[in-house]
Amino acid sequence: MNREEAMNVVAALRGDAAVVMGPGSNCGLVYERADRPATIYNMDMAYASAVALGIALARPKRPVLAIEGDGSFYAGSTVLSMIWRTRPANLTVLVTDNGVWGTGDGSEPTATGHGVDLAALARVAGWEEARVHRASDPDTLRRTLASALKGGGPNFIVASTDPAADQYLGSFVAKPRVGRHLLECAVLMRADLSRDD
């Protein structure tokens, strides 16, 4: 599975889920395919899942999806414990794991590129095995994400993507961009979530 295939699955399934995305090419792909008002793009490194946790706690009836690359997620991976302690049923964390940093020349290995297993990290942080998922092909990701977004969470999905099949790696390649300022994203997110009152 490559990054684009993974984000195509997200775009097809997100529905009205509130989405918080970490930095990187995933953002532009989702913006082009499935932009909705309740979307925070390019949340700063390490914080997408924590911000999503806050939204999930604030809005328990709304599905909430965090999407982060493995480098960003690992940088803030202490959040695994906080999510498991609070256990919001409406929260799904999806990590796209290609083992390299998307910035720079796009080839520097991340921690997972050196062997860190994020699904195993969730398990040692206390997560039940049934809430921790792995997907390495679009069909598995589709089934897993569709089920997770129905509730019964929190769910943690590690989607392995192939860096060799990723045309968007690196800082200096053409890639889809988000066409909305992050201030506007926050305003739209707040307004959309307030519809649930």
Binding site: I40, Y47, L53, G54, L57, V79, M82, T86, L193
Partner: protein
């Protein structure tokens, strides 16, 4: 003079009057009375693993329409620079109440870095902050801070010298 417990209760009364629904915290000796008081009042208290993680959760809570307060030692403000900057840029206010200041009463060398963080990050990011110096005014101070945070869509800090909320008097 108010006891530490009374001052902690006053701080929490002000927060509750301001509409605080959730307290995100990392345990801290100075803040422990306030954390207990929030719990006693039935406020949802969410412990975090790192203070910046807690601030990020508070950002999400605010986006979801809930009013949160973050309690921590000021060292956590040092960890939270990036997420506080993001909160400012996207105008999502987070209120932080943190222990230790660069003023009097700081006896311990191991709080040296904490003190530098306490009044280094806020002005650097253009985040307004107050240093509490009177326990009797804590209740009103909390209400005013939340009024500014909401009205101006800005994060806001309140720094607490240790003697104000604890029974030790330096």
């Amino acid at each position: 003079m108010m006891t530490g417990a009374e001052a902690s209760a006053a701080l929490v009364r002000g927060a509750l009057k301001a509409g605080v629904e959730i307290c995100v915290y990392l345990p801290d000796s100075v803040m422990s009375g306030a954390i207990r008081e929030f719990r006693r009042n039935g406020t949802l208290c969410v412990p975090c693993s790192r203070e910046d993680e807690g601030v990020a959760v508070a950002v999400g809570l605010q986006l979801g329409g809930r009013t949160a307060v973050c309690l921590m030692e000021a060292s956590g403000i040092g960890l939270s620079g990036l997420i506080l900057a993001r909160a400012q840029v996207q105008r999502t206010p987070v209120v932080i109440v943190a222990s230790h200041t660069r003023g009097g009463g700081e006896r311990f060398d191991y709080h040296g870095a904490t003190l530098l963080c306490s009044e280094g990050i806020f002005p650097g990011l253009g985040i307004p902050y107050d240093v509490a110096n009177d326990a009797a005014s804590l209740e009103d101070t909390m209400e005013r801070i939340f009024a500014t945070a909401r009205g101006q869509l800005t994060s806001y800090g309140l720094l607490i010298p240790p003697h104000l909320l604890t029974e030790r008097r330096s």
